[in-house]
């Protein structure tokens, strides 16, 4: 309706109102409305503003709904996902202690994150560590932070990132399972978050971070959801822990069979589902990139399950259930950095390569080296994460994520240099994890002693650390 039409319509309305002898107040109202329409330009501009706000709000609602859902999904990966996955793999006497390693980090890292962690990871600072601007969540409110997510509240981005900071140290606990003192574990995880995780997250994802791919990094590396930040840091630190703490009593001669592969299967399935929040959520929006990452994640995982299963079937003679679910985790780990950059077919290739390599790592290489990475945190996360981070540089393509405005994103696009950037990021993650973990372990050892005594280890962590048992059948 043009303003002329509107005017005519109003005139008619006014006339017909007169005819109908409608009261003078109604007439007055209609007349003033007519005056407003006559001043049509500011009115339309206001309407456009309103429309603009409405569209923005609608997009924010959509994106925010997905990001809050993703945040919850990623928390679910730690508890109960990882808690069950790891809990099933240990002996019965350590099931609670092992699940506690995951669960207690849901609380510990959360507090640390609110006080100082988010700021050290995501506030602007040096290329290697964030500043203190967001200390105590100061300035983290409903308004979006345009650098990280223009269409979601800053608070949502903050809580989403927290869930990553929780699961990463929890992954390490697989290496020192069944023998670490609980108090030392708490101190280790707190220091590890401060010394390894927050700096690495800042380098890769923080504004101005050394390796940030989009916000001014010196060596822009692609790490969509945490191949370097999450899996290399945790996996390599896990290896350091396993080497530093030494083998479990009786390893490898005594039977250390998983006490319940059933729990591990349930845990792995929860991890697979939760990982959609981890990877697709890393789009920080509910748009097509989220779909692409979701799909790459799923197909990589499916291929990885089959990869591990057939490799084990051929080499060891039977397709084990634990092997199949371990393959899923290996695939999920490897596709994590690549998920927002690669197409489904390369995703499958990444998944199957990672699972076969991880299978050989945990079943053959571990025996050769003789370290006791109890639940294979290094073999799956360290190795799978490294492989994934490098392959991201190979298969990243502008057809999926055009961050360079039409220029090549990775080797298949024609940019071999990206692989070099990925290797630099991998090397930094390895270096930081090794040096950081060694120093922290030493500190924990001097202050508290990292390992339980022989009697406590024989009794099991459930009884000796927590005064409980996982299964009280006579109760």
């Amino acid at each position: 309706m043009t303003s002329d039409d509107t005017g005519r319509w109003l005139l008619n309305a006014v006339q017909s109102a007169r005819v109908r002898r409608i009261g003078s107040r109604v007439l007055l109202t209609l007349l003033s409305a007519g005056v407003a329409v006559a001043q049509s330009t500011p009115d339309i501009s206001k309407k456009l503003d309103d429309l603009d706000t409405a569209v923005k709000n609608a997009q924010m609602s959509g994106d925010n709904a997905w990001m809050l859902t993703s945040s919850a999904l990623v928390l679910m990966m730690t508890g109960p996902g990882l808690a069950l996955f790891y809990g099933g793999l240990v002996r019965r006497k350590n099931v609670l202690g092992t699940m506690m390693h995951s669960f207690i980090l849901m609380a510990t890292v959360s507090i640390l994150w609110a006080v100082v962690g988010y700021s050290l990871a995501f506030a602007e600072g040096s290329p290697f560590l964030g500043g203190l601007r967001y200390l105590f969540l100061n300035g983290v409110g409903a308004d979006p932070n345009g650098d990280y997510g223009a269409t979601i509240p800053h608070q949502t981005y903050m809580i989403y990132q927290l869930m990553f900071a929780i699961i990463t140290p929890a992954l390490i606990s697989g290496a020192f399972a069944e023998r670490m003192k609980f108090s030392a574990m708490l101190l280790f995880m707190t220091l590890w978050s401060l010394v390894v995780y927050f700096p690495m997250a800042h380098m890769v994802w923080g504004k101005g971070g050394f390796l940030n791919g989009t916000l001014g990094g010196r060596f822009p590396a692609w790490d969509f959801a945490g191949g370097t930040v999450v899996h290399i840091t945790s996996g390599v630190s896990a290896l350091v822990c396993a080497l530093y703490m030494g083998k479990r009593e009786g390893y490898p001669n005594e039977s250390m069979r998983p006490h319940s592969v059933v729990l591990s299967v349930i845990g792995a399935c929860l991890l697979w589902v939760g990982w959609f929040g981890f990877n697709a959520g890393s789009a920080v929006s509910a748009g097509p990139l989220a779909s692409s990452a979701f799909i790459a994640t799923h197909f990589a995982t499916a291929a990885a399950v089959l990869g591990w299963m057939f490799a084990e079937w051929m080499i060891a003679g039977k397709p084990s259930v634990l092997g199949a679910v371990s393959g899923a985790v290996a695939g999920l780990v490897a596709i994590t950095p690549a998920s927002g950059f690669v197409k489904p077919m390369p995703a499958m290739l990444i998944g199957v390569l990672a699972s076969v390599v991880c299978y050989l790592m945990v079943s053959k290489a571990k025996k050769v080296f003789g370290y006791d990475d109890a639940l294979d945190a290094f073999g799956v996360h360290g190795i799978g994460g490294t492989l994934g981070a490098i392959l991201t540089g190979v298969f990243a393509t502008k057809e999926v994520n055009d961050l360079r405005m039409g220029k090549a994103m990775g080797l298949v696009d024609g940019d071999a240099g990206q692989v070099v950037n990925q290797l630099i990021a991998v090397a930094i993650a390895w270096g930081l994890a090794i040096v950081g973990s060694l120093i922290i372990l030493k500190i924990c050892d001097v202050v508290l002693g990292v390992r339980v005594n022989k009697q406590q280890e024989t009794d099991g962590l459930d009884l000796s650390m927590h005064g409980e048992e996982g299964y009280n059948f006579e109760a």
Partner: protein, 122 residues
């Protein structure tokens, strides 16, 4: 032993270690000859039957104590042979690992509820 009357028939305990999947057949068979009291224990062990291998992420484990079911029942001496034969018939598959039966004399049987002794307590 001295408390037992020489006229009274002795009781004997039959302990049978059987394959867990044979428990239902054995219970039915014993019920068929009028034996309805027994204790069932889930136990683990092995005789000549060797265990099996399990493999977790390439780590091989030899598992040689296997799950078995142990039945304990006390019957008058006169019925021992009949009960043992019934049990064997029901529990036998012919393969290694079918289990064993041990029979021992019982000095006394007492019903906790009312102090009944001997066969009346069974």
């Amino acid at each position: 032993m001295s408390a037992c009357s020489p006229l009274r028939e002795r009781d004997e305990k039959i302990e049978a270690i059987i394959q867990p999947h044979k428990l239902e057949d054995v219970k039915e068979a014993l019920k068929g000859i009028g034996i309805d009291g027994m204790t069932v224990l889930e136990v683990r062990g092995h005789g000549r039957q060797k265990g099996h291998k399990e493999m977790y992420r390439g780590q091989e484990y030899q598992v040689d104590v296997l799950p078995k079911v142990k039945l304990e029942l006390v019957v008058p001496t006169g019925r021992v042979e009949e009960v043992a034969r019934t049990l064997i018939a029901a529990a036998r598959s012919g393969a290694i690992g079918d289990g064993k039966i041990f029979i021992t004399e019982v000095a006394e049987a007492i019903r906790i509820r009312n102090d009944e002794r001997g066969e009346a307590a069974l």
